[in-house]
Amino acid sequence: MSPELARALLFQMRRIRAVEEGIADRYPAGTMRCPVHLSIGQEAVAAAVGLALRRDDLAVSGHRAHAHYLAKGGNLPAMLAEIYGKLTGCCGGKGGSMHLIDESAGFMGSTAIVAGTVPIGVGLAYGMKLSGTDQVSCVFHGDAVVEAGVFFESASFAALKQLPVLFVCENNLYSVYSPLRVRQPAGRSIARMVEGLGVPAASGDGNDAAAVYEMTQEALAAMRAGGGPRFLEFSTYRWREHCGPAFDNDIGYRAETEFLEWKEKDPVVRFEKALRDGGLVRAGEKDEMDAAIERELGAAFEFAEDSPFPDPSAACSDVYATEIRPGPAPVVMGEQSWRQ
């Protein structure tokens, strides 16, 4: 990994951590009035995959999407304004934290129904294949998604048509308060199950940013060469509660000791240490990064807090569209693609 790439990866992880902690700190004020699902503890997967993807690759995600949105290059002030329900939010305040979009960065949408965007990601890949581009469609999702029927259907179709869709599964062991063992048969590996559907799959340590990056690059190279879909399962852990800013290890669904074990494997601290040990960042560089992040974050929160709310008339706007908007997805409808 080059020093530039390593620094960029560390920066992105620290930035995501800072944004999520900033949201957590301000949430009790009651001005971010929507459910938030934070990615604290899971930053490495988003940051590494985000860096590996090209800007013209497309991504979708679910309710826990802040990190994916940011890592893909999504606009930070627009995301925060959206969480505050403001007119300047990426959805004009209509969607909130659980519905984020920034098409200019290739982040095509995140929604609140578990597994809801999985087939959408496959559909984007179908469009890519039909157009003959070497773009990739990335579907960020969690461990509970593979329990949904629509995941099976989507992965099967992706395998059937050999579509360029990358499934990135963050297995953080819990779906709200439900541990994996009450949802999936003991000893059944998610990656191996998906292999059985016809999608080549691999699994790895989601808190090892460099490993995530390498595995992703390998998958992307194969996909861009026409290799069809890929599935990557990354083990990680969510530090805070499922929904909201607090720590909730005291309510009894998981042990504090388990949390502390995972905290020891903090992906951000780990990567920073690895870079220092490898001489890829110098002492003091972390502080420079943090200062830059602080400035950016402060301005973004100010923008969000100062922005106006939408008018109540917005409640009934945009139910229907009156025109098709051209999008960032290159619609390369070449003659050759369509004729037999």
Partner: protein
């Protein structure tokens, strides 16, 4: 040409005009070609654009949505509306809401064709008309042509509409024959069609029941009753101005609904007429709809079940305070009663 041929023509035209139009569904490329509606399309446009699909209605709808977000215009077909129930999450939570919840960033220009079954023992899960479900969802448009011309025109309009459109095709209309204009002639989504001008009563009809209403109106001329028949064509949006103008003129209204009565589109129409045109009404509004029960399979159990021209005419006469007279000898329930015509030999 037939209703089915008109749909086939619309699909072919759309796919020739726009390389982003793709067409898929269970059996889209099989020898039956979805009752003839997809005949020849795969040969002409290739298997990447016209293809059969796995029995995965939910994902295939979501895949259509993703393709639409990419820039394509997918048309997905369900051989029965009943199969579309598997796709409600994608249709309602994604397609219908995408433009709204993402603040107008992008809409989902997909078309979902749903074929409405009836008769020939289709039974409880192959004959549902849940048009009211779809008409109720903000963000979906719902159309239901009754003529070959509108089948083509509304399908073209649906395909090129920026919003998700549910296109309801009645199985009993597939063999109906009518004049169809050549070329890219679209029927706008929304306006109703005045199928027959009249002054004594407004009959608001939709889908197959427009055909029955017109047969009834012809007979009713002999009884000195002059019916105005509105073919609604669009169930979301509904053409309120056409309905209100007609009711204001006639003072009487009968709404015909091919779905079950409770919670039906007909119920919505009658509610609004009662709320907004009460002074125009000279008699209470009325409706004929299917009973609140699934459709049985047995030939014996479906006798007298369907709304036919005789039932419509008898109801109109009743509203106007006339005797039934010779209505059921002039408009008997057809024999056999469970098919649209003797040519229908089943099985699907």
């Amino acid at each position: 040409m037939t209703f089915a041929e008109a749909i086939n023509q619309a699909l072919g035209l759309a796919m020739a005009m726009d390389p982003g139009v793709v067409c898929y569904g269970l059996g889209a490329d099989d020898p039956k070609a979805i009752f003839g509606t997809t005949m020849g399309l795969q040969d002409q446009f290739g298997p990447d654009r016209v293809f059969d699909m796995p029995t995965s209605e939910n994902a295939m709808t979501g895949i259509g949505i993703g393709a639409a977000l990419y820039g394509l215009r997918p048309i997905m077909t369900h051989q029965r509306l009943d199969f579309a129930l598997l796709s409600m999450d994608q249709l309602v939570n994604n397609a219908a809401k995408w433009n709204y919840m993402f603040g107008g960033a992008r809409s989902v220009p997909i078309t979902i064709r749903m074929i409405l079954g009836r008769g020939w023992g289709q039974g409880p899960t192959h004959s549902q008309n849940l048009q009211a479900w779809f008409a109720h969802i903000p963000g979906l448009k719902v159309v239901t042509p009754s003529t070959p011309e509108d089948a083509k025109g509304l399908l073209l309009a649906s395909i090129f509409d920026p919003n998700p459109v549910v296109f309801l095709e009645h199985r009993w209309l597939h063999n109906a024959v009518g004049e169809v204009p050549e070329g890219d002639v679209r029927t706008p989504i929304g306006p109703a069609r005045v199928a027959r001008i009249g002054k004594d009563i407004t009959v608001v009809a939709m889908s197959y029941l427009t055909v029955e209403a017109l047969h009834a109106a012809k007979y009713l001329e002999s009884r000195g009753v002059d019916c105005e028949v509105l073919d609604l064509r669009s169930l979301n949006p509904i053409d309120w101005s056409a309905i209100f103008a007609s009711v204001d003129k006639t003072g009487r209204v009968l709404v015909l609904d091919p779905g079950a009565a409770t919670g039906s589109v007909a119920g919505e129409i009658i509610a609004r007429i009662a709320m907004e045109r009460m002074p125009s009404l000279t008699v209470p509004p009325a409706r004929l709809a299917m009973p609140d029960a699934p459709e049985p399979t047995s030939f014996g159990a479906t006798k007298g079940l369907y709304i036919r021209a005789g039932n419509v005419a008898a109801k109109v006469l009743n509203i106007l305070g006339h005797d039934a007279g010779d209505v059921f000898s002039k408009l008997p329930e057809p024999t056999p009663h469970d098919v649209p015509g003797a040519w229908f030999k089943g099985p699907f």
